[in-house]
């Protein structure tokens, strides 16, 4: 009896916390599937339909793709993908050098590197704009990807994790004649999968969510990313809340779809370590 009560309480608690987390997006989802006039009619005064997609009307979804939202999605996807792949290589290599190798000026360089993450693109948007304009990269994918590639936070993260791996492994491999790239790729990368996934997620989310920099670094409709397109929705189609919600739901579900397989990967890690143990 006590056991059943505690199970009941536990589910109640989880459900309460969970619904707070999910409520805004669920409401946006329900509202995106409604005719425009119905959305605020349902919330004030409150009626249970506010949280149900009823009467069902999927037109908002068709409408946003007619207005070119698909291309913004493609842009965001491409920019994020390029940033993650190139970013992992650039920052991973730097993190490895800081964690494992010894060379003159290491501490100064590392301090300088970490310092740069205190000034992200938002803080230095104006001078950064000047630099990118002089490179002729305004309104290009390079202008969206390259300025954020090397990142103090990511390098710091890699260094933290690489430093936890016993140096004896690298020293032994070195004595066996392995090159540093081999050591990085064959020893450090396999042992640091959680760090690599964390870093990849960090880069992906920062890039997928970036708003201020894409807003000022791109001008044409052709280069517009999702977050900027959404802001445009609000301004151009002021009252079309169902379309804004539809676009919000799509651009929120995509990162989750990328995260879910990785969640499975986390669980695999646990299984792996318990088998080895």
């Amino acid at each position: 009896m006590i056991h059943r009560l505690s199970t009941f309480l536990r589910h109640g608690g989880y459900l309460l916390v969970g619904s707070i987390f999910v409520l805004p997006l669920w409401w946006a989802f329900s509202s995106s599937l409604k005719p425009l006039a119905q959305i605020f009619h349902d919330t004030s005064p409150f009626n249970a339909h506010a949280l149900l997609p009823f009467p069902l009307d999927p037109r908002a979804y068709l409408e946003i793709f007619r207005k070119g939202f698909g291309h913004a999605l493609w842009n965001s996807f491409l920019v994020s993908f390029l940033s993650v792949t190139a970013g992992l290589v650039v920052n991973g290599c730097a993190g490895f050098a800081f964690a494992v190798l010894s060379f003159p000026g290491k501490n100064v360089l590392f301090a300088l590197t970490v310092l740069t993450f205190l000034a992200p693109a938002e803080a230095i948007a104006v001078p950064l704009y000047t630099v990118v304009r002089n490179l002729g990269w305004l309104d290009t994918y390079a202008g969206l990807v390259v300025p954020g590639l090397a990142n103090g936070i990511t390098i710091f993260l890699f260094r933290q994790f690489f430093a936890q791996i016993p140096r004896e492994l690298a020293e032994a491999a070195r004595l066996d004649g392995a090159g540093w790239m081999t050591i990085l790729w064959r020893i450090y990368v396999p042992l640091c999968k959680p760090a690599i996934i964390s870093a990849g997620l960090l880069i992906f989310f920062f890039q997928w969510e970036a708003f201020l920099w894409p807003l000022i670094a791109t001008r044409s409709e052709r280069m517009r990313v999702v977050q900027v397109a959404l802001a445009g929705f609000e301004q151009q189609h002021q009252t079309l809340w169902n379309e804004l919600f539809a676009a919000s739901v799509i651009s929120s579900v995509i990162p989750l779809l990328i995260l879910l397989p990785l969640q499975r990967y986390y669980l695999h890690l646990v299984v792996d370590s318990s088998i080895k143990g």
Partner: protein, 291 residues
């Protein structure tokens, strides 16, 4: 032990990152720092002249700057501890194993997908004093309509709530990854020794999670000191400057009033502030690690 070939390898491995950082971070920071000592000439529009510490003197003599500094510190003193502690508690919640946990995990991780601009738009509608969902729900349990974002005393708290809703699940991924890395044998051994859940948390989870926690705390702090989107999209720094953080004051000075020198001087103060805070956090957590 001194390893052969360290220096050339380090050079090759570091080069791409250092070039990127130099061109897209350090050089712009230097430009910003230089700009904070300059002003547009009054006599000749568009001509930039060096004015020394004038911008800093102006800023430090401006009550609005001190008000913005106070708002920034208040926001960060509350939001950073709350986000990190909440993220930690929820990570422990998510890490439990029982039937149905996968479903709750899904619910708790949903805000990760929602970008801050989107979160702001949705929450603004939900917090609308007249027709918002939250006031309607509060009405169901007999609580009066609240003004939230348009109330001088509630706006900053509303912004914090929105940023926390959005931020906590994001930081949970990192803490969860850290938690997964703790060998389960430790917990089993502790359980066999009769350690309670609280003991296991304080003596195993916390110490072994310290690196991840430090990372989350430092990153979260730098993000929140530069929090800009909610003020930009929702409150415009108001009402009565109650959400006018330094980041927004800098934006207003530069982009609305065209005083770029003042904007950059404020930004320099802000960067200094973040650096000091992060160094203090590092120092305190390192200290504990060695003790």
């Amino acid at each position: 032990m001194k390893l052969k070939g360290s220096v050339p390898a380090a050079f090759v491995l570091l080069l791409p990152a250092l070039i990127c950082l130099a061109v897209f971070r350090l050089y712009p920071i230097a430009l910003a720092a230089w700009g904070s000592f300059c002003q547009e000439s009054f006599e000749e529009a568009g001509r930039i002249i060096f004015v020394g510490l004038q911008n800093y003197a102006d800023v430090l003599g401006d009550p609005l700057f001190w008000k913005s500094l106070w708002v920034t510190l208040k926001l960060n003193a509350v939001i950073n501890p709350i986000q990190v502690v909440l993220a930690l508690l929820l990570t422990v919640m998510v890490n439990q194993r029982f039937r149905g946990i996968a479903f709750y995990r899904l619910l708790l991780f949903v805000p990760i997908g929602v970008s801050l601009p989107i979160a702001c738009v949705i929450w603004r509608l939900m917090l609308d004093p007249q027709s918002g969902l939250i006031n309607s729900l509060l009405g169901q349990i007999g609580i009066d309509k609240q003004r939230f974002l348009i109330d001088e005393h509630q706006a900053l708290w509303s912004v914090m709530a929105i940023a926390t809703w959005k931020g906590v699940s994001f930081w949970m991924i990192f803490l969860w990854a850290g938690l997964q890395a703790i060998p389960s044998e430790l917990y089993e051994a502790a359980r066999l020794d009769g350690a309670t859940a609280a003991t296991r948390f304080f003596y195993i989870t916390l110490p072994l999670l310290k690196r991840t926690l430090l990372f989350v705390l430092v990153t979260d702090t730098s993000v929140n000191f530069l929090l800009f989107v909610p003020m930009f999209l929702l409150t415009r720094g108001g009402p009565s400057y109650s959400t006018n953080v330094l980041m927004y004051e800098s934006y207003r000075s530069g982009f609305i009033y065209g005083e770029m020198g003042r904007a950059l001087a404020i930004m320099m103060v802000l960067i200094l502030l973040v650096s000091i805070t992060v160094v203090i956090q590092f120092y305190c957590l390192r200290q504990k690690e060695s003790s």
